[in-house]
């Protein structure tokens, strides 16, 4: 490549990288605004919006419900998704191809269409605004991510290891527990994480099946943005960003340490 092409390409990449990353950080200064406004630049400095997030029952309740729904969803989705990934892995490739495509459809169905349908069913079955309703819908949305994550680690898993264990006298269950499970644990773990995040972040279905008694955090953020310019949303965004960065950072550090061992 000639030098001018290189410089242009490099600058272009820098611009795209800034465009990808920068909008995230704009939330941070807004969260310390002294005035109740989201206009830029922010005025003064205060912690009041952080205080509001933790003390205002509307906000803290939505955070708690989101955490609950996401935790239960993550557990269910991981179990169901891992089972399915194993089943698909052991099937004839033709059947598994069709089933895999079918099981992944929740990822491409337009959100609002799905939400309207689920809302219709929930109205009839009295599941609107219930924990069960949220967990059912979110688990369905999260299972594909678990299947993808676990399948990826099953693909590199050498099945002969399991065969070796059974030929040495281990029962299938023991072989599974002591050989297979530890080797694909990273896949299951990342599936769990994906499922949690999918549920924690899900908004479209949540907007339809929410009730004044059960609101998840994204719904609360959305209604706050559409209602008024409350910098509390910026504070929430900052907290969420820092938390996930810490979790991912810790994961990376632990991962690289294990890799070195």
């Amino acid at each position: 490549m000639k030098l001018p092409t290189r410089i242009i390409l490099g600058l272009f990449c820098l611009l795209v990288a800034v465009w990808l990353v920068a909008p995230t950080f704009v939330v941070v200064p807004m969260s310390f605004n002294e005035k109740k406004s989201l206009a830029f630049p922010p005025d003064g400095f205060s912690w009041q919006w952080y205080q509001n997030f933790f003390t205002n029952p509307e906000w803290s309740a939505s955070l708690v419900s989101s955490l609950k729904v996401a935790a239960v969803t993550a557990v269910f989705a991981t179990i169901i998704g891992t089972l399915a990934a194993f089943g698909l892995d052991r099937m004839k490739s033709r059947t598994s191809g069709v089933l895999r495509a079918l099981l992944i459809t929740p990822m491409v169905v337009p959100g609002v269409v799905l939400a309207v349908g689920i809302y219709a069913v929930y109205l009839d079955t009295h599941l609107v605004g219930t924990m069960t309703g949220f967990v059912l819908a979110h688990t369905m949305l999260a299972v594909p991510f678990v299947i993808i994550a676990v399948s990826a680690s099953l693909e590199v898993f050498d099945k002969r290891l399991e065969t070796a264990a059974t030929s040495l006298g281990a029962s299938r269950l023991t072989a599974f527990r002591t050989v297979t499970l530890p080797l694909i644990a990273p896949g299951i773990l990342s599936g769990l994480l994906f499922a949690f995040v999918t549920s924690f972040d899900e908004i479209i279905v949540a907007l339809f099946i929410t009730s004044p008694y059960l609101k998840t955090l994204p719904v609360q953020i959305f209604s706050s943005i559409t209602r008024d310019a409350d910098p509390t949303v910026a504070a929430v965004g900052t907290i969420l960003f820092i938390t996930t960065s810490l979790v991912i950072g810790a994961g990376l550090i632990i991962g690289s340490r294990q890799g070195r061992r």
Binding site: L99, G111, D201
Partner: protein, 301 residues
């Protein structure tokens, strides 16, 4: 390619020595892997299949049986404008994503490992920020008293109307969807042997010609895969257009939500939903064959 790897493993596992007879009973359960998929399928049918079926039925059945809701949809100029706009906005978003993602993914394949890690990190950061918060960030950036306009004013330009315009919606959506373009592009591009371009050069092709005639055709499956994912996701976008858009940039999803939640007209909302659903799956069906990689990697170099 990964799939052929698995089938090779399968046949190896199947050719392994037979398990003792006492184990056969337990093995028969595990040999019917279909049962392992059943919970996922039940969930899928109950929480995805039934709801979608209800939408389809209601679109034909409410308030009376027939095609009235579809006739209404396709005879109303407002709806047709929105439908056309949904496709136009999605096409623009896809175009912006290809234009920005292609060079970016290419650079990812040619730089050193450290810089590559940084570039990948930049692509992944948007994923770990909540979707609603990201849209909020765009509201702060694009609004009339927002970051972009205060910078423009500072440099001496007049204010530009960005929020509640189609441009604003496209900018916001493209940023949210760009990672879905870059990741498939990168996974295809990293398998392309750069020596092929050198070979073309040594045979007398100009750098530009070598790129267009050798590199681009090999990268096309990645472009198709990324573009179709971005386009399909864009068609169904709801949050970003709802927060960044105005009445002149309404997309189909907002219209559906409006019919069902505000007007309680399940038939019309359902018909719109079916239109969106059919469009999505027709596009998927058309694009699937294009996404297969035509070149086969022999051995990893």
């Amino acid at each position: 390619m990964a799939r052929t790897g698995t089938t090779a493993m399968d046949s190896l596992a199947n050719n392994a020595p037979a398990v003792p007879a006492s184990e056969r009973g337990t093995q028969r359960m595990a040999d019917q892997p279909f049962w392992l998929v059943v919970p996922a399928l039940v969930l899928l049918v109950g929480v995805l299949g039934v709801p979608l079926a209800i939408i389809v039925i209601r679109s034909f059945a409410e308030p009376d049986w027939g095609l009235q809701n579809y006739a209404w949809f396709f005879n109303s100029p407002v709806n047709l404008t929105v439908l056309q706009r949904t496709f136009t906005i999605s096409a623009w978003v896809t175009l912006v994503c290809v234009a920005c993602g292609y060079p970016y993914a290419y650079v990812m394949t040619v730089v050193g490992p450290r810089l590559r890690l940084l570039l990948i990190l930049c692509v992944l950061v948007p994923f770990w920020v909540s979707g609603v918060v990201r849209t909020l960030a765009w509201v702060i950036l694009l609004q009339d008293s927002g970051v972009i306009n205060s910078i423009l004013r500072g440099v001496g330009f007049g204010a530009v109307k960005l929020i509640r315009t189609q441009t604003g919606v496209v900018i916001g959506m493209a940023q949210v969807l760009l990672p879905f373009m870059i990741l498939p592009l990168y996974s295809v591009m990293k398998t392309i042997d750069l020596r092929l371009m050198q070979a073309a050069r040594s045979l007398g092709a100009s750098p530009a010609r070598a790129f267009v005639q050798v590199y681009m055709p090999l990268s096309l499956p990645g472009v198709y895969a990324g573009a179709i994912i971005v386009f399909i996701l864009a068609l169904g976008f709801y949050i970003t257009p709802a927060l960044l858009g105005g009445p002149r940039s309404t997309m189909l999803s907002t219209l559906i939500q409006n019919q069902v939640l505000s007007l309680l007209n399940w038939g019309r909302g359902g018909a719109m939903g079916v239109v969106l659903l059919v469009a999505t799956f027709v596009l998927l069906a058309i694009a699937m064959p294009l996404m297969r990689q035509p070149h086969r990697r022999g051995r990893d170099a």
